[in-house]
């Protein structure tokens, strides 16, 4: 049987597309198609990834200009049909700018770019994207200047009530408190899904946690996605 094909949308300024492409092919056992941002057609609709980087230089606001790309218009249309979509880092920012996900990613608490390894607790294992991950706490690098999740108190409550919060920054043993919060995100939020549960956005980079050792948690993340297809 030929391998299935997953789409990765690439913008001018994306810089995690290569890393993501490698991780997806290797650990989801699929082929990929890189879709250039001005392509209004996305042929392979099994699953769509929006990679990290600085789309259009992140001028104006992170992810804001990317929402105007023809490919993103198609992503929005397909999202309504239930196509699984994952946005990582800048991809998450783009998805919130498109209003496919709630809230906004604003300047980190200290207003500095931050790159480090962080533990992340999977607080909802009852989603398409997380149910097959064989761990409850994973370690992924983060690398962003605008990763502080923010929304209104009402929205936050709604996200919680609907079980839409998926990842939270935590300690190695799963404690969730201020000292483990790298950027000032509300309630340590690192990743959420939409109400229909087919769109995931997360700031940490699972695609950067697949190298040098078979124990790396990015591998569990991508292997867990295999069953989705």
């Amino acid at each position: 049987m030929p391998k299935k094909v997953v789409s990765i949308v690439v913008f001018p300024g994306s810089n995690c597309d290569r890393d993501l492409d490698i991780a997806v092919q290797k650990y989801m056992n699929v082929n990929t198609e890189l879709v250039w941002h001005d392509d209004p057609n996305i042929k392979n609709q099994e699953m769509i990834f929006i990679p990290g980087g600085f789309s259009f230089g992140d001028y104006l606001r992170s992810g804001a200009l990317a929402t105007k790309s023809p490919a993103m218009k198609e992503v929005i249309r397909l999202s309504k049909k239930g196509v699984p979509i994952i946005g990582i880092c800048n991809g998450f920012q783009i998805l919130t700018e498109c209003k496919l996900l709630d809230g906004a990613l604003i300047d980190n608490y200290k207003r500095l770019f931050i790159c480090k390894e962080n533990f992340v607790k999977i607080v909802n294992k009852n989603t398409l994207f997380t149910k097959n991950i064989n761990k409850n706490i994973v370690q992924f690098p983060i690398a962003h200047a605008q990763g502080r999740f923010y929304t209104s108190e009402d929205n936050l409550k709604r996200l919680e009530d609907n079980n839409q919060i998926v990842f939270k920054y935590s300690s190695r043993d799963g404690k969730i408190n201020k000292s483990q919060n790298p950027n000032g995100s509300m309630n340590n939020i690192a990743g959420i899904i939409n109400k229909n549960k087919n769109i995931l956005g997360l700031m940490p980079h699972p695609e950067r946690a697949v190298n040098f050792s078979e124990d790396n948690d990015g591998i569990s993340f991508f292997r867990g996605l295999q069953n989705l297809l």
Partner: protein, 726 residues
């Protein structure tokens, strides 16, 4: 037309003799445009006029050298049809005037030097020197420079994996920002800047030309005074997004067989890029400045030729590939224009509004650029008389690990994306050199930046030798085979005898060490006139070393496990002069530790071979440098959050000298089997001393003192945040 007078000539930084030479070359008076071109081409920054004579003496070739100095960057062979392109370059003057943009454009410039040659950048490093933390500008400069470096590299998506950052009052008014980039290229896909083919089109691509940075190269070739801040308009503004588009479009174009020659428009912009390409190819050029994409209205030929607007490239293209070239640039949304043509005349002919506005012979301008053998004289170093202080071993250790120069640099490196591209095995806080995997292989590259200006100020030759040796040692400690270096020579005003002495001596030192270690210099940069109101920086010849690791899994970091034993490789004499210990005691005089290059080779070869043959026995490795044995051990304890039981050998007479001495050519080897290392060292006649056992959670020097590792970590981690947030 403006008449050229003495004042205009001297404002262009051209001496009377140089002006005479210009008139001889042209056989007439130059016009303003031509004078401007001469001034940047003959600036210290572009012409190396004060150092050419000395730089020529450096060893630049070797079995693995593909391309030495003279091109955009140096290239070494790493086997399997792959090569590494690397260079370090300074952006000191602009970074002092405008720290964020100055540092950012420094990173952008060095990356362009690397990807111009066909390589994809795979790592950035930087070597930073700031003034005393007590100086009122230091905080703002530190924040701006670090943010500028981070924002630029992060956006382009190249990991910033290491470097160094130090504070010293000699940099109060002249900070140093040296950026290094390494790139990976297929050996048969290297691009050079040799223009060829009469009639071939010259294509301009990238940012539109503005009035920024005019005379930047000349600024970098003059001292600062009270009005230096007025030079802010000479500092260029960086656009990392544009750089990313340039990088990707050039990579795409390089896959086609289109480019004959390519050169980035760096210092002296369109002038130096067009002259250098034509000069190397021994041909002429016609430029049509009306076609240059401009950002501002009514720009004059003078401004267009001298602008240092960033993120621009110039290339000579095969005529048959013009269409596809322009198509690729269009895809990436880049402005591209055909602005000239290669000719046989050997002249640079500059047209504007259909008239010839400048005509210069290319070869004579490049070849007869001045070369000076400037007078030099050993400076008399006057030491300040200061009251000496006394410290116990414990309080000295705490003082050093909580000092600006030895505190954890977490605040800095957290601002740098180190994990993008997924090939960073060790960033420089995890190992003595940063280790980057060669994509899709088991090979890796090790990189490090080193310099000790305190040593260099006292003895520039020995100081520079030690810089080279330390970089060699750092590569070995990470498990690499050292291959070659790039150097960045930061000094004061070479027209002063004492400074010229420092420059000549430092180059001699680099030569001596590189020859002995078979460690050639493949690229480099000079930055002079780092002076303000007659006060020069300490001589700072920064060495960027590159090595190769055949099997990345055998690379070593600063790792240790419970129960491991730590051994010192090499002789410890207890040299305290100019050490960190003496500096905290206010004893700022004396000589650097002696360096025996034969012993350096012997110890380094032992460590390398031992790691090779007994790789699984070695848990980690760390060189012993500033702060001596005790600091190297404390760094291991802090890094691993593990305790050490340290036993000073019974024959040691003065434990302070022994613990804090900065004798050269030494390593700490952390091993899980003491018998084998003892046996091998004995056989090879290597000085080996057992010093510590990894155990518990306390840093304990038996019969002296103990302190919990938690406390050490706290002392080590607070300075930067306190300094910035205060």
């Amino acid at each position: 037309m403006i008449k050229i007078n003495k004042r205009i000539v001297s404002e262009h930084g051209i001496s009377e003799d140089e002006f005479k030479l210009i008139k001889e070359i042209l056989q007439r008076e130059p016009n303003l445009l031509e004078l401007g071109i001469f001034s940047v081409m003959w600036s210290e920054h572009c012409s190396y006029k004060s150092t050419k004579k000395w730089l020529k003496t450096l060893p630049t070739s070797g079995e693995k050298v593909i391309c030495g100095p003279g091109e955009n960057a140096g290239i070494i062979d790493i086997g399997d049809n792959e090569a590494i392109v690397f260079k370090m370059e300074s952006h000191n003057h602009p970074s002092f005037i405008e720290p964020y943009q100055g540092a950012a454009t420094g990173v952008g410039g060095i990356m362009r030097d690397v990807f111009t040659m066909g390589a994809r950048p795979i790592a950035n490093l930087n070597s930073l020197r700031f003034g005393s933390p007590k100086h009122p500008k230091t905080k703002q400069l530190l924040s701006g420079v670090v943010k500028g470096i981070g924002d630029y590299g992060n956006c382009v998506g190249i990991p910033t994996v290491g470097g160094e950052c130090n504070f010293h009052e000699s940099y109060n008014n002249n900070i140093l920002v040296n950026a290094m980039c390494i790139g990976l290229v297929k050996k048969n896909k290297i691009f050079y800047s040799i223009a060829k083919g009469f009639g071939n089109p010259i294509i301009y691509v990238g940012a539109k030309t503005g009035r920024d940075g005019i005379h930047g190269a000349t600024m970098a070739s003059a001292e600062f005074d009270d009005h230096s801040e007025d030079s802010r308009p000479q500092v260029q503004v960086g656009d990392p997004f544009m750089e990313k588009l340039l990088l990707e479009s050039c990579q795409e174009l390089m896959k086609e067989d289109a480019i004959i020659a390519i050169q980035d428009m760096g210092a002296a912009g369109l002038t130096s890029s067009s002259f250098e390409m034509a000069s190397k190819g021994s041909c002429g050029v016609k430029l049509f400045l009306d076609k240059v994409p401009c950002r501002e209205d009514k720009m004059t030929p003078y401004e267009m030729m001298l602008s240092e607007t960033q993120e621009r490239m110039l290339m000579v293209i095969k005529p048959s590939k013009k269409k596809s070239t322009l198509r690729i640039f269009k895809k990436w949304g880049l402005e591209a224009a055909e602005i000239g043509v290669i000719t046989k005349t050997g002249n640079m002919e500059i047209f504007f509004n259909n008239s010839l506005v400048g005509k210069l012979p290319i070869k004579p301008l490049a070849d007869s650029s001045p070369e000076y053998d400037r007078p030099s004289e050993k400076p008399f170093i006057k030491f300040k008389k200061e009251n000496h202080k006394n410290f116990s071993i414990k309080s000295a250790l705490i003082k050093i690990i909580s000092s600006p120069n030895h505190s954890s640099k977490k605040w800095i490196y957290h601002q740098y994306d180190r994990s993008v591209m997924c090939d960073t095995y060790f960033s420089s806080e995890q190992s003595d050199s940063a280790v980057i995997r060669v994509h899709n292989s088991t090979k890796a590259i090790a990189v490090t930046c080193d310099c000790n200006p305190i040593y260099c100020n006292s003895d520039p030759k020995l100081g520079a030798e030690i810089g080279v040796a330390e970089s060699w040692r750092n590569l070995i400690a990470s498990g690499a085979e050292p291959i070659a270096i790039t150097d960045n020579l930061n000094f004061g005003n070479p027209e002063k005898k004492e400074i010229m002495y420092q420059i000549k001596e430092a180059i001699k030192g680099i030569k001596t060490a590189c020859e002995a270690l078979d460690y050639p210099v493949v690229s480099g940069n000079v930055s002079f006139y780092n002076e303000t109101k007659n006060k020069s920086i300490f001589p700072t010849p920064v060495i960027g070393g590159v090595g190769v690791i055949k099997n990345i899994s055998k690379s070593k970091g600063l790792r240790m496990n419970e129960g491991d034993k730590i051994f010192i490789v090499g002789n410890s004499h207890g040299h305290l002069e100019l050490s960190e210990f003496n500096r905290i005691c206010n004893k700022n005089y004396g000589s650097p530790p002696p360096l025996d290059l034969k012993e350096e080779i012997k110890n380094g070869t032992f460590v390398r071979n031992f790691m090779k043959k007994h790789n699984s026995i070695v848990t980690g490795c760390h060189d012993i440098s500033e702060g001596g044995i005790i600091l190297a051990l404390a760094e291991l304890a802090i890094r691993n959050e593990k305790g050490l039981n340290i036993k000073i050998p019974s024959n040691v007479k003065n434990s302070k000298n022994w613990l804090f001495g900065e004798d050269q050519s030494r390593y700490l080897l952390i091993v899980n089997n003491e018998d084998i290392i003892k046996k091998v060292a004995k056989k090879e006649n290597i000085k080996l001393q057992e010093i510590a056992t990894v155990s518990g959670d306390k840093f304990c020097i038996i019969k002296k003192f103990e302190i919990s590792v938690k406390k050490l970590i706290k002392y080590n981690s607070i300075w930067f945040e306190n300094f910035i947030e205060k």
